[in-house]
Symmetry: D4
Subunit: 225 residues, 8 copies
């Protein structure tokens, strides 16, 4: 087998049946050829598709092969909707600052492609509590909340103390100095004294949106025995 | 105000109404007086109570004040059940090794006090895949899975790829050397390439059980509009 | 010079004139002989003295030499008051949890030996905001606040957003797992998005109490030009 | 609510009343639209405003909306003065090296917008003690000192031993190798054996200037009971 | 000796006799002159040569001096084959994702220059186990496996549990956030609960390929006593 | 299922067929009941068994159930030999210092239970090169070398430069200060500039001995096509 | 070769000729047998010997074999003087605090066994500069200075700025919190802005004393060409 | 004092008398104005001057003011020689690889401006011991050796075992992955089991050259009492 003809891509085509969602392709570090190969392999997929951390150039390659691909620049996502939208209610995405919006959008758009309607509450960080407290009703009616924060990352703790639904915390790399590229808010969230809070990787809006959407979707599709 | 008469304990008595569960008291570092004060303050609570990381001596103090307190030695929990058990189905707790059992039990017993019935699958780590694959049906019928692992912490990733419900990953401090007291499996879980996985602090069985129980309880109490 | 007759202790007797306070002696790692030498050297000091992180055995050595020495067990301090107490008002010490009380007491007692009256607000952590919000008036009337928290350390950020006086944040080593012995709340506090917050070392109640007392004392002794 | 019309900015308009200062806007990571939205929202603010870590391009956007905005390039600040300057005396900013000047200027200009007159002592690091000792009088007459240092960060310890007013230490990212982008001087300052020293994040001139100005302003506005 | 005439390069010409392979030259940080000097010194080498992490510009310098040099762009290697290829069977290289291919190719091409035929299995990561399980036969017939993975790095553990030959694990810097540039998968691999797994530095395809080839070559050249 | 009757142990009984060796049981953190359960389950195993990091008390439990269990105190191993010893030649274990001997013995005894004869070269560290150079012949005739070192961990690099067989490096936690419990020699070994060196976890003698024995055994059982 | 008869100790008997000093034996982690073996092997050594970090029990073993062994409890050293003392002048050992004395004594006694007379200046830390400045003459007449400090570790920087001889800095593990067991002063010293300062491992009094004595001895034995 | 007229530079003009060398100016992060101010202030200095980590543009500014300034591009130094060269013998600089040459040159040129003649031995790393052993005579005749190494940094340990003069170890940032920008060789060197080795910051050729030159110069200027 020569190095020129190595099969570099093996799509996980069973994923939809198994996990309830089709492929999410993480694009950084992939060559243009790999991106194109993947797009071609997904041409006839019947499930929704997401390409994450996509560059504009990578989107153009995808769109030339999958004409129904839509670019979400703020979320750095390219999405392909192949399924009708069930519009599940109950997902919310909240951020501490306006610099956290790209990660929040990544979460929100991911949840939307998984069939959720998403309530967005941005720039309501805890150093000015009144901004957060003005939205307690929105938070308490949610069924799964993605809480996004950089800097010191205190938001999910305060939110977790106000609600009784699951909170998925996302640290962002917003900050400087001993923020350590998001390690500081990550530690804050993992050590949260609030219950019902779990955490995903720094800047991992995709993972948080997926988790929240999984919780909300299950709620709408669950049939009690 | 003299140092001798400082009020050191302020219980969060609104928590039950707000978060759907009564107080969970983290016991390490608390003095015997503080433990006794807390127990007395909870004498007439109408919600279930948990004392976590409780020592046998601390349990004895609690039980002398709250006679309905039950000790769960493996889980290092003292529980007080004040509410009828609704026996919600759908929670599962799975461990990679037998050394992870104490943390797993902490998660399982917490979920039980929150009204869940819990399926336990212990010592099914990924270095011998057949042990895990023998339980795929159990995993795929769950509605929320707590996956507990020390050492390299690969279990939640493999589980996450097999199911379509939320997986709450718990790293344990089982291991040695560059395991760094659980930091290694924590990093593994935060970097998991499987979707639908979120993470709690090292050895935080309480937090994981709480998260899973919140997801399962919501499923059983949710009323579609 | 033989190793047996080395002069191991050199007290900083100019400190009082220079910094407005006499010696604070950090006791861990000091031999009994060193402790006794220090006590003897301070026999006729005219300023207040503090021995910090003192063990009961070390206190006994000190008290045998300085009969006016008082033991503060919760604060792990031995104090000697040689000056009349001016009872400066405006210092407050606040904690997130009851496990943070020893560090808070270290701060409070230090400030008391520096001439301050100290308002104590303990166990008012941010996961149950109502506990904190019930004390906003106390906080807003303070002139310097020591905010003590372990776990995720979010308290100083929330307090900093509620007041307009300086907040000295003290992370404690209360916690487990990726708390890293207090590194997590330390990072949280250093990255705080609230203004007017500065930070001291983990468990450094002495340093925080000293800083707060310096601010308050200066307020009472300042004469406008 | 579509992703296109999300409200991304919520200014903390109560801050002035609550904390005694209007908004400080941290600019890195904010889009041009966000910067412009913020500037427009502050058009009629009656308190002073600061935009921090502002780029020249961002300043131009701000100045096009707020014509009274002034650019301080060395401090990377854009300031808008809406209040008469009370010229409070007592703030000092000191640096170890000349490479620390940008962070020091950030602190000094912040304090100036908060109403302080600021004494600057730059490049007086401790490896040549005589440079520092030549300014002991200036230091001892100050009421709050911001001490800025990179490399090994020893300056605040030495300064703290010479004065009896609060010292706010700022580590800078000046250095290389195991300096770790300012982590080394940060650790030095947090472990300082000098009393009356507290610390802010690496390169956080804003926070240090704000803290010092809060201390000085309070001194001038305090009315003894 | 003037600084202009320093001898900066000393090739390890005994290496072939001693270690069974000629020089591998690590190119980053080397000046063009150093690269050229090395190429000239190897002009008449009788063993195979590899230049690693070679840039296209560096390759051109080498090829102008060693016309038999071949560029492997995906592997970032320039190779010179001076020995007949013995085509030893038994080496395999496997990756978790398609972003790990460059490191995998570095390993594979290195092993090929050391006389091995290499089986490549790319993009078979553990979040979709069926992709890996489809290749169990290939894995179980190998004599040394290089397992390459970024993100959470779980692949070598799962592979190690399926085979009884040595597995050389290579963490890659593929990932983001708390991946820490490959530290996370490195820790995963070092803590692997699977036996028969050892680890090389992050992105060190060369080292892994060399190790695997050493094992395979020895197998083919070993003569039982 | 009650917490009292949970099945906590699932032995990996297919391991022998799959990996060529029976179970190795890591004993720290296991309860006495778990140890006894495991010993009972292995009563009739036909393959060799190892219990690692075994305490004397744990050994006694094992030996009461498996009378053929042998205690190796220096290696902290309990072994059960159920297979005839094939006495494969070619494994060597080398240490830098005498404090590294326990880890080295763990490796050596593991390899012996896997059928190897092991050459031991202890206390030949690189600060006195002549001690190492005196054994070059032993090293160069080996087919797999386990090189064990604490402190700065330079031994495997020097050994790797002298031989052409695989070297498995084991860092030990021997050392103090910035040794960081073995992290320093671990980093040294992972960054080794010598080829043919791979690394296992700190103090992981088991893993290194297993790896070396796998390489040697394969050599003796390999049949060329 | 059976495990019972392994040669675990290989003394570096060429060291004296090569490095000018006989063996220094690091005792922690060595078994009593190993200690006794080493003492026996050195019975007839003609050079001075040091056993470092020796426990009282280990000293007794040594003294029973080497009756001329002397215990230095403060320095945790056992020394054997076999050579006449040349009393080289010029070595000085200085500490910041009294808790640093054990490490300082380790350095001083080591230098004394290497033939130096040592000037000791203890507890002269930089937070009270006058204590240090009172000894400038002693420092400026030294030929090699060992500067020992824990906490923030600023002493060597200040000393380095006052003298023109080499300064060997030793961080100690004295401190708490983010001191990280001596990592903080280690970083301070490595980042020192003073010239002529180099650093040894945390608490490594032996290494620092050895380095200083090497510099001083060379000065007294050097013969200009 | 307006921000425009701040005195940013205070040269340490007493340094020469005190430390035996004039100013070394660290140039990164300094503005062109600062560089020019410094050059002007040194116009009439009678001691040698060094500007370190100087860019070509910065050199041009310096040379326009100080026409006797000489650029050493490999060492990234600009030097001004104002004193006759005493040509002290005994300094040596040795590197493990050719990528370490820039740091080695920084050390060598610094020592040359301090009056030393420097022997250079480059690219003699320990993975091919014979290259090092070929130069044992050169090493053993040196009076102070700077040993420079990146990757795993084992060189100073091996050198330290071969000589009896002081060795100043310099870790370089040459390497990748878990090298961590030079942290790995730094740890190796600090943990060296060889005596007589001390360490400076990563890539700190200046500091190492200064230390070695201080040792050598003192040797030549020392007058025995």
């Amino acid at each position: 087998m020569s190095a020129e003809n190595i099969r570099e891509i093996r799509l996980d085509i069973h994923r939809s049946a198994r996990t309830g969602f089709s492929e999410i392709i993480y694009c950084p570090g992939k060559s243009d050829e790999q991106i194109a190969d993947i797009a071609r392999a997904l041409k006839d997929a019947s499930e929704n598709i997401l390409f994450s951390r996509v560059s504009e150039a990578q989107h153009d390659i995808i769109a030339s092969i999958l004409p129904d691909a839509v670019f979400h620049p703020k979320a750095r996502l390219t999405g392909v909707r192949r399924q009708e939208n069930p519009h599940y209610e109950g997902a919310a995405v909240i951020t501490a600052g306006s610099s956290d919006v790209p990660v929040a959008e990544e979460a929100a758009v991911t949840a939307e492609y998984m069939g959720c309607d998403v309530k967005r509450l941005y720039d309501v960080g805890v150093a000015g509590l009144h901004r957060l407290l003005a939205h307690v009703d929105d938070l308490q009616s949610a069924k799964a909340i993605v809480a996004v924060a950089g800097m010191e990352g205190a938001l999910p703790t305060v939110v977790g103390g106000l609600v009784n639904c699951p909170v998925v915390a996302v640290p962002t790399s917003t900050g400087y100095g001993i923020n350590l590229g998001g390690v500081a808010p990550l530690l804050t969230m993992l050590n949260s004294c609030a219950m019902g809070v779990s955490v995903v990787n720094i800047d991992n809006g995709i993972g948080a949106g997926y988790m929240a959407a999984t919780i909300v979707r299950q709620l709408h599709t669950f049939k009690k025995a």
